[in-house]
Amino acid sequence: MNFRETCPIYLQISDRLMDEILAGKYAPDERIPGVRDYSVLLQVNVNTTTKAFDQLRQRGIIYDKRGLGCFVSPDAIQRILSIRRDAFFNEWIPDIAQAIRQLGITTDELLSHLEQCNEA
């Protein structure tokens, strides 16, 4: 895994796990790899992975079964999509809006390009 220059590693790890859940690699109520195995896979400190798992647990995306490990929550996909939607409006849109201003792009232009993307 190539780590992006500036985003904290633990957030990149939780993002990766969310991507894997969205892609269907781990289904609802299916077990995900343990913290140690996941750390070895990504060659990172166990504490960093623990922090990522803690965050996902807090957001209700994964849950613990005592002695059995971590599992994907039944409603994990809805939760991830809602988190991603919030991030889209709160983090991406402001950046895009700034670029639109800088480049003098009109709303019509933007919409027609979006439609082209959807058709492709």
Partner: protein
């Protein structure tokens, strides 16, 4: 716990002191990156910790036992992989047979697993290895010894590109809460993602001893586009993507990844960075 209390150390009177009134405590269960320019005493510190070198006042101890006494009960909990070493011309099996008795927790399985991860055969002969293979074989034995303290001096020197990532894997897989692993290196990218804590040496003193969590809470490491405001920067460095910036976190704690190389340069060039990291929050 490793304790160093007001250590003064020099090799002889013709040479400058390596450590002057140097104090450091290293708690258990952490992977520590020991960083510093060439000649700042990284190897010397590792040798002092395991008692191969000692100062007159015996100011280095492990769990309360002075390291210089080199008591068996301390030595069986400690393993050092020096930067350069010689191995006897025997097979690794023979080596494990004759040396594993010194380490009560020695694990045959860890030895085999680690050798396999490094793509070495469990039957290799130590007399016929390249420098990198020798290093990987000895690191495998060191991990298999399962000591509470493991000191690795420039472990990634001489390792080829795939071996560096294999090294990170074996360390991540063998780390436990009881274990303390100190990795001295100047190749920070080799260990950046593994460390809990960094200890930075400069000349004869300690420049920084901080956990990566604390650093991430107090400093931001960013790439800013050319022309962006740099007024809050503590340190800047030009790069292809823009300007690399170290700035105080100012409420944006834990939003960026600690860039150890950038931090190292920032610390050695701007004393304000140390202040930002050490002042009580």
């Amino acid at each position: 716990m490793i304790s160093i209390n007001h250590l003064n150390f020099r090799y002889n009177f013709h040479r400058p002191p390596v450590f002057t009134d140097f104090s450091l405590e290293i708690g258990d269960g952490q992977i520590i990156g020991l960083l510093g320019k060439n000649g700042t005493g990284k190897s010397t510190l590792l040798y002092l910790i395991c008692g191969l070198l000692y100062d007159k006042k015996h100011s280095v101890s492990i769990d309360g036992i002075p390291s210089h006494e080199r008591r068996p009960e301390t030595l069986q909990r400690l393993f050092i992989v020096p930067e350069e070493f010689e191995l006897p011309p025997i097979s690794i099996r023979q080596y494990a047979k004759t040396h594993s008795g010194f380490y009560p927790n020695f694990s045959e399985k860890v030895l085999e697993d680690t050798l396999r991860e490094f793509e070495l055969s469990p039957d290799i002969h130590l007399g016929s290895l390249s420098m990198g293979q020798k290093k990987k074989a000895y690191i495998s034995f060191a991990l298999a010894a399962q000591t509470d303290y493991l000191l690795l001096d420039e472990p990634t020197n001489g390792l080829d590109i795939p071996s560096k990532s294999q090294f990170r894997k074996v360390v991540a897989s063998q780390m436990t809460e009881q274990r303390t692993i100190i990795i001295s290196t100047h190749q920070v990218h080799d260990v950046e993602m593994l460390t809990d804590r960094v200890v930075l040496l400069a000349e004869d003193r300690l420049l920084l001893d901080a956990s990566l969590n604390d650093i991430a809470e107090r400093l931001r490491f960013e790439v800013r586009p050319v022309g962006a405001d740099l007024s809050d920067a503590l340190y800047i460095e030009p790069s292809i993507a823009g300007t690399l910036v170290v700035a105080p976190a100012n409420g944006f704690s834990d939003t960026t990844t600690v860039n150890l190389e950038l931090l190292f340069n920032a610390l050695t060039q701007n004393p304000e960075v140390v202040k930002t990291l050490t002042q009580p929050s």
